[in-house]
């Protein structure tokens, strides 16, 4: 029967102040049950304070064949990474 239920992507906020993170996917007939299932499948170990679910079919994704044009131009531009700054000891971990 599970093949008749649509797939949902599950996002969980681990703590207040953090972003929701994608944790996996599951099948459910509607949003309410998707949240229930997400609670049962992904939050048994006290992982979350908030759950988002979204129909997998509603996610627009970049095509793997676009990988080159999308990402490669950034490859040779290491100066875009903020790795050249010396962080003073007093600032601590950033």
């Amino acid at each position: 029967m599970s093949h008749e239920w649509p797939l949902w992507e599950v996002f969980i906020r681990g703590q207040h102040g953090l972003n929701h993170r994608h944790v996996g996917s599951l099948h459910a007939p509607d949003a309410e049950m998707a949240i229930r299932h997400a609670r049962d499948v992904y939050t048994r170990r006290n992982e979350g304070v908030s759950i988002w679910v979204v129909r997998s079919s509603d996610i627009a994704a970049s095509s793997p064949s676009d990988k080159g044009p999308l990402f490669e131009p950034a490859n040779s531009k290491i100066y875009r990474h903020p790795t050249f700054f010396k962080i003073p000891d007093e600032a601590g971990h950033m």
């Binding site: 029967m1 599970s2 239920w5 599951l26 099948h27 459910a28 309410e32 049950m33 229930r36 299932h37 609670r39 049962d40 499948v41 048994r44």
Partner: protein, 259 residues
């Protein structure tokens, strides 16, 4: 132990009451765990296993306290694995076979609708050890009833087949619900001491919850007030023996083994 001697109830009645709470959770937990690996969809399989684990966890607390109250040195494990069927005090409802998925959920709902108000009342128990266990369990059971009620509604108000199966499950299980509200001397003693509510006091709230959910599920409440009884005093259906044979096999065959 000093606190125990101060309570206004005899040890045997409190022990009896704790066995009833613990055995309901243990036997239903075992029944629900039988679904592990067999549920119609993976997500429901996990949800059922979670419910079973919650109930087994509650069992440890209730039977642990029961052993303490009894004062004979029996642990929760002793009580779970080394008693025979006639010493079990669970409701007949929870030992009935699972049937199909719908029937399992109907049984769960009928039990949950009683379990939640029972635990809510116990959270205000005059015995702090009872109140503490109830306060922990009530959070789990609030979710159990939310889930079982939702699925009863979905399946009752679902397809023609799911509706027929849920109505059949309800008709079959209904005569086993009356036992939840029966009372004997042990119940009266713990109620008088403010440890637990009188069983009959939970009936009205249970009826309201059940009526509302059944109406939404388009299911018809069966007529008739006949109630099977006996589980709470150790007279069980034949089904309990089979459950114990499986559940207790290891401790019976290899006494004292641990892993």
């Amino acid at each position: 132990m000093a606190a125990l001697l101060d309570t206004a109830v005899d040890r045997a009645s409190l022990f009896e009451f704790l066995l009833r709470m613990g055995d309901n959770a243990l036997v239903l937990g075992h029944r629900v765990s039988e679904w592990c690996g067999h549920a119609p969809v993976l997500e429901e399989d996990i949800a059922l296993a979670n419910t079973a684990l919650d109930l087994i966890g509650q069992t440890q607390l209730w039977l642990g306290l029961a052993g303490e109250v009894e004062g004979q040195g029996r642990s929760a494990d002793n009580l779970a694995y080394l008693r025979d069927a006639h010493e079990f005090r669970n409701l007949l409802l929870v030992e009935l076979p699972n049937g199909d998925f719908g029937r399992t959920l109907m049984r769960q709902f009928l039990f949950d609708a009683w379990h939640l108000p029972m635990l809510k009342a116990l959270a205000a128990s005059s015995d702090p050890r009872v109140a503490e266990i109830a306060a922990k369990a009530v959070k789990e059971v609030a979710y159990h009833v939310e889930r079982s009620a939702d699925l009863v509604i979905r399946l009752g108000d679902g397809t023609e087949e799911s509706h027929a199966r849920m109505q059949a499950a309800l008709d079959e299980l209904w005569p086993y619900t009356g036992e939840m509200f029966l009372s004997d001397a042990a119940d009266e003693a713990v109620a008088a001491a403010g440890i637990a509510p009188a069983p009959a006091s939970l009936r009205e709230g249970w009826r309201d919850t059940v009526a509302a959910v059944l109406a939404e599920a388009t299911l018809k409440e069966p007529a008739g007030a006949y109630a099977h009884k006996g589980g709470r005093s150790g007279r069980h259906t034949e089904h309990l023996g089979y459950i114990l044979a499986e559940m207790q096999f290891l401790q019976r065959a290899y006494p004292g083994s641990t892993w």
